[in-house]
């Protein structure tokens, strides 16, 4: 069967060029970079090279890159690290209602420790108002954490503006930049943030590797204790194959970025236009233009997401949904709810996230396949937009 992968925001395939590099550092050059001998030195050199490549990719200095096990760890290190380094300089953290759980649940944990957390609302397009950040900052504020692009609806946040506001008030700024890497150019110097999280497996490198950018001079406390790795900020023998692969993925992303941005944007716009033309009452979630090139997220009222995903999967199409029924917790997407979308409408959310290997023909196949599925499920549905729900939202 034809297989069309449209869930690149969940994870990407490892690019062959990247996989070959990783294989070499698993099978041939497998030394521990802390060892004195030749294999160890080889691993250390490869890591240095990878660090330089990663730094170049995001517009940073190599010493500002801390390799981690992924973006969850990078988010934890950034937020816990700043909070625990703050001492009596303050205990207030500002974030948004639409962050990834790696940020939100870390803030929840800090709240239990006694930190004060402000979770800023977003507008109907999922954007945070920079002036709300300005208003929320007080003398106790130590950190502002706002994601660069939302992983569900693709909305880009005005992080540069927010960073300027926060830094003028002496507040450290973190951004979760995971979804942007490989889709749009990243220049951290220009962005003006102090900390930024990235993940390998969203940019054609393997799972289990990522990094945190830490601007020189940022006060950060380690959260993992052990050896001297990563300038004492992240103990543990480095994932050399993963790190070297990540370096290669950054080079690849940089080489291709103009093409990939344009390619994804054209597929995205083709898909959105096609869905709007062929599915009655469909609407786009997130910002129309301030949006990741590879993100399509729509609500299809009267249809439930999991049912749609199962039918699409049977036709070889891999997608995702923010419906409560698809989440382990049986709660609808916190992002859609924060944007003011009603529970029963969030039920019909469908996310299709594009990658560098997708083609226009694949998009057209989706546009042929989805409408009959929707029609069929709608005909079977016990609820139509406008009907009362028999229980409270």
């Amino acid at each position: 069967m034809r297989r069309i992968y449209l869930d690149h925001s969940a994870t990407t395939p490892v690019h062959p060029r990247v996989a070959v590099v990783a294989m070499n550092y698993m099978m041939n050059d497998y030394g521990n970079s802390s060892s004195v001998h030749a294999p160890g030195r080889k691993a250390a050199e490869a890591m240095d090279e990878a660090r330089a490549r990663v730094a170049e990719f995001v517009g940073a200095e190599p010493r500002e890159i801390i390799f981690t096990s992924g973006a969850t760890e990078a988010d934890n290190l950034a937020i816990l690290g700043v909070a625990h380094a703050a001492g009596d300089r303050g205990n207030h953290i500002i974030t948004t209602a639409v962050e990834h759980h790696a940020v939100l649940h870390t803030c929840d944990a800090l709240e239990k420790e006694g930190f004060r957390i402000t979770r800023l609302p977003v507008d109907a397009e999922g954007r945070v108002d920079p002036s709300a950040v300005e208003d929320a900052i007080d003398d106790d504020t130590i950190l502002v954490s706002v994601m660069l692009a939302n992983n569900e609806v693709g909305t880009l946040q005005p992080v540069a503006e927010i960073a300027e506001i926060a830094r003028a008030r002496g507040v450290t700024v973190h951004t979760d930049a995971v979804q942007v890497a490989g889709q749009l150019p990243v220049d951290l110097a220009e962005l003006g943030v102090d900390l930024a999280s990235f993940s390998g497996h969203k940019m054609y490198a393997p799972k289990g590797v990522g990094f945190l950018y830490v601007r020189r001079g940022t006060r950060l406390k380690a959260q993992m204790f052990g050896g001297h790795h990563e300038r004492w900020l992240r103990a543990g023998t480095e994932n050399v194959p993963g790190i070297v692969a990540l370096g290669e993925a950054c080079v690849l992303a940089q080489e291709e970025i103009d093409y990939v941005t344009a390619h994804l944007t054209s597929l995205r716009d083709r898909l959105i236009a096609g869905l709007e033309e062929r599915i009655p009452d469909v609407f786009v979630n997130g910002h129309r233009t301030e949006r990741l090139p590879g993100n399509v997220n729509v609500c299809i009222p009267g249809v439930e997401g999991e049912a749609m995903l199962l039918h699409l999967d049977m036709k070889g199409i891999a997608a995702s949904s923010g419906s409560a029924c698809t989440s382990g917790s049986l709660e609808a997407s916190h992002v859609l709810l924060a944007m003011g979308i009603k529970h029963e409408i969030a039920h019909g959310s469908l996310r299709l996230t594009l990658g560098r290997d997708n083609t226009a023909a694949e998009i057209d196949y989706v546009l042929e396949t989805l409408p009959p599925i929707v029609e069929n499920l709608r005909a079977m549905s016990a609820w139509k937009p406008g009907d009362e729900m028999p229980f409270e939202d």
Binding site: A307, L330, H347
Partner: protein, 128 residues
């Protein structure tokens, strides 16, 4: 995640739609995840002769409503009232634990339809 039996009922659900002149109607919603189910029955001499459903919900919700209509058809009202959500799940070869509440919904919708039938029947008797 789902058994073959669940997928079978999900892809080709039985008894979808609406009955003309239904004798009883049940409509339930699930506050857990926001699902909604409507079920209608036709009753003759205390036996369920026809059932139809409509569901706004996940794969498990569609499959459980489909199988419960198959189970109930031909049963006496008392037999149908005795169907539990475990019976529904079992008939489907099991459900993932976080989907058990969907089977509650199917059984509840059926029981509501029977209740509605009994209420209407009692009302008609009273008028005579």
């Amino acid at each position: 995640m789902y058994t073959d039996k669940v997928m079978e009922h999900f892809t080709s659900p039985k008894n979808v739609g609406e009955l003309e002149n239904a004798d009883g109607e049940g409509r339930v919603g699930n506050p857990v995840c926001g699902d909604m189910m409507a079920m209608q029955i036709k009753v003759e001499d205390g036996v369920i002769t026809d059932v139809k459903f409509r569901t706004f919900g996940c794969g498990a919700a569609i499959a459980t409503s489909s199988i419960v209509t198959e189970m109930a058809k031909g049963m006496t009202l008392e037999e149908a009232e005795a169907i539990t959500n475990e019976d529904v799940a079992e008939a489907l070869g099991g459900l993932p634990t976080n989907k058990m509440h969907c089977s509650n919904l199917a059984a509840d919708a059926l029981h509501n339809a029977i209740e509605d039938y009994r209420r209407k029947a009692a009302g008609e008797d009273g008028e005579q």
